[in-house]
């Protein structure tokens, strides 16, 4: 095979991305004595002022990418904290208005687990089912609204499927009813344009490390007009206008700022390049018999492709593809034996859900990487099907649903 590929090949950009070298340079400029190491909250000297200036410049870069006011950006430790701050922050602040929340079954755990926690605190949560394409429709949201609904939390791009929800449609319904609308956009930045000056969204969570920035930093957009108020979840000094205390991590913040600045500059080119890798991959892989694309192919981002290989078990396929870094479902659940809850919510049978693999491409994926991966997949699927009693039954024309399985 080609000598130009470096093994193992990274095909798991939706789980995290490498830091762009330009971002790494920026980070390292903000650490040591000869760099910009000051505490941005120090008002009494130049070290503090310079650090504050860097933090505010980064804030502008983040705001620029999503077209909002920099004063609407609150730094957090990542999208998980941003989700927690948004959901618990709204629920706690506005609980006198009602204690009902609407979210979906295919949200990231960073949204589902805070919702579960609020249920323990006396809130009621409706978990919407996606349609079979993996989308949460505005109609589904509309039908779930009650008198006491205070918050709707629906993700932008699903991390396992790459499907894109209609934020405008859902947001308009929320606005009409005066309900706050939070969006987890961890997978969106640098992939598709977001314009918060027109989108009817009140809160939006961002992550740096999905967009070539460092781990451990994220942000929450909190709309100023109409004003959205949240109860802080971390107290201790009143940083970030009281919404999130704690000394700002200047190096992480400038890293996120630089990553988002580059994302804005290069999104159009990245999109074209990744679309062509996606098409090449998709066209080739769809020639394999009995495979199923999970999520609406016409309504998804091109950097994520989730495929079920029928009659092959997912973990064994990942093991057979040892030179390719991919995941089955989200990295947070891939250590467990459960099939992905997202694919189950789509109504996929357990065996198809557990035979699914998520391939995700990124800025540093090459055409050679894609070619090599395709060769390996074809080989591995052939071999594992040769080994599969289910494939044998399929070839013999036996309907697996009619077999009396001995479950254990």
């Amino acid at each position: 095979m080609s000598s130009e590929v470096n093994l193992p090949i990274y095909m798991d950009y939706a789980s995290t991305t490498p830091v762009d070298p330009r971002v790494a340079k920026k980070i390292s400029d903000h650490l040591t004595l000869d760099g910009n190491f000051g505490n941005p909250a120090s008002r009494s000297h130049k070290f503090g002022w310079k650090a504050e200036e860097a933090v505010e410049e980064a804030r502008s870069h983040v705001a620029n990418l999503v077209n909002c006011d920099p004063r609407e950006i609150v730094w957090t430790s990542g999208a998980t904290e941003a989700d927690n701050l948004a959901i618990k922050g709204i629920a706690n602040f506005y609980q006198k208005n009602g204690k009902h929340i609407i979210t979906s079954k295919i949200e990231h755990k960073a949204v589902l687990d805070p919702c579960r926690q609020l249920e323990r605190d006396g809130f009621e949560v409706t978990y919407l089912e996606p349609n079979e394409g993996g989308l949460i429709t505005p109609e589904a949201v509309s039908n779930a609204i009650r008198e006491d609904t205070v918050l709707i939390s629906i993700m932008h791009i699903n991390n396992e499927l790459g499907t894109i929800n209609d934020l405008d449609g859902i947001g308009k319904i929320a606005r009409e009813k005066g309900i706050f609308f939070h969006v987890d956009a961890a997978q969106s930045t640098g992939k598709i344009a977001i314009d918060l000056s027109v989108l009817p969204v009140d809160l939006m969570s961002f992550s740096a490390h999905k967009t070539y920035g460092p781990k451990g930093i994220g942000a929450l957009f909190v709309r100023r007009k109409p004003r959205v108020r949240i109860e802080a979840q971390i107290h201790g000094g009143g940083h970030e206008r009281g919404m999130r205390s704690g000394t700002l991590a200047t190096h992480q913040i400038v890293g996120m700022g630089e990553a988002f600045r580059i994302a804005k500059e290069e999104m159009d080119n990245d999109k074209i390049r990744i679309q062509s890798l996606h098409d090449k991959f998709y066209n080739s892989i769809s020639k394999i018999e009995e495979i199923y694309i999970n999520g609406d192919i016409d309504n998804k981002v091109s950097n994520i492709l989730n495929i079920s290989f029928a009659y092959v078990e997912g973990e064994s396929l990942i093991m057979a593809l040892k030179d390719i870094a991919v995941s089955s479902g989200s990295a947070c659940t891939s250590a467990s034996l459960e099939p992905s809850y997202v694919l189950r919510a789509l109504g996929r049978k357990d065996e198809l859900a557990s035979s699914s693999i998520r391939f995700s491409f990124g800025r540093f994926t090459t055409e050679e990487d894609v070619d090599y991966t395709l060769t390996l997949i074809n080989h591995a699927v052939d071999r594992l099907r040769e080994l599969s009693p289910l494939w044998e039954m399929y070839l013999d024309g036996i309907d697996l649903d009619t077999v009396d399985w001995q479950t254990h």
Partner: protein, 134 residues
């Protein structure tokens, strides 16, 4: 999932050289073939094990074995390991094989013990099928 080197090697050898590692099938209708199939697709693993025996008086010796497994890496490695243990044994000896033998041979992690249980069940069922035909 951190597997032992033994599981990884067994899995890779089996998928790379299926014929050598007894992947395949016998005609289940043959009188000297016993077939066992356990597990369910919804549970994530299905093992099909077939033994071909030769009788010498009342003693039946397992002359050849074929298997196919749908499942995780350790399920595939477990069945492949079991197959090697079976060839040449009498049915009485084969009945003595316990899941713990596979666990020890492959150093299976606790979370994957059920793969070895499944393997043990598959041989029991194959022997039962064979004995019913005699």
């Amino acid at each position: 999932m951190a597997y032992s080197k033994k599981v990884v090697d067994k899995f890779e050898n089996t998928i790379n050289e299926p014929a050598k590692y007894n992947v395949g099938r016998f005609d289940p209708k043959e009188m000297n073939v016993g077939t066992g199939m356990v597990g369910a697709p919804a549970c994530g693993d299905v093992m099909k094990l077939q033994i071909k025996c030769e009788s010498q008086g009342n003693t039946h010796i397992i002359k050849d074995v074929k298997f196919k497994t749908y499942g995780c890496g350790s399920a595939i490695a477990s069945s492949s390991e079991l197959v090697e243990m079976l060839i040449g044994k009498t049915l009485e000896e084969a009945k003595e094989i316990k899941n713990i033998d596979i666990v020890e041979a492959l150093e299976l992690p606790p979370i994957k013990i059920h793969c070895s249980v499944l393997a043990e069940d598959s041989i029991k069922q194959a022997i039962q099928d064979y004995e019913q035909k005699q």
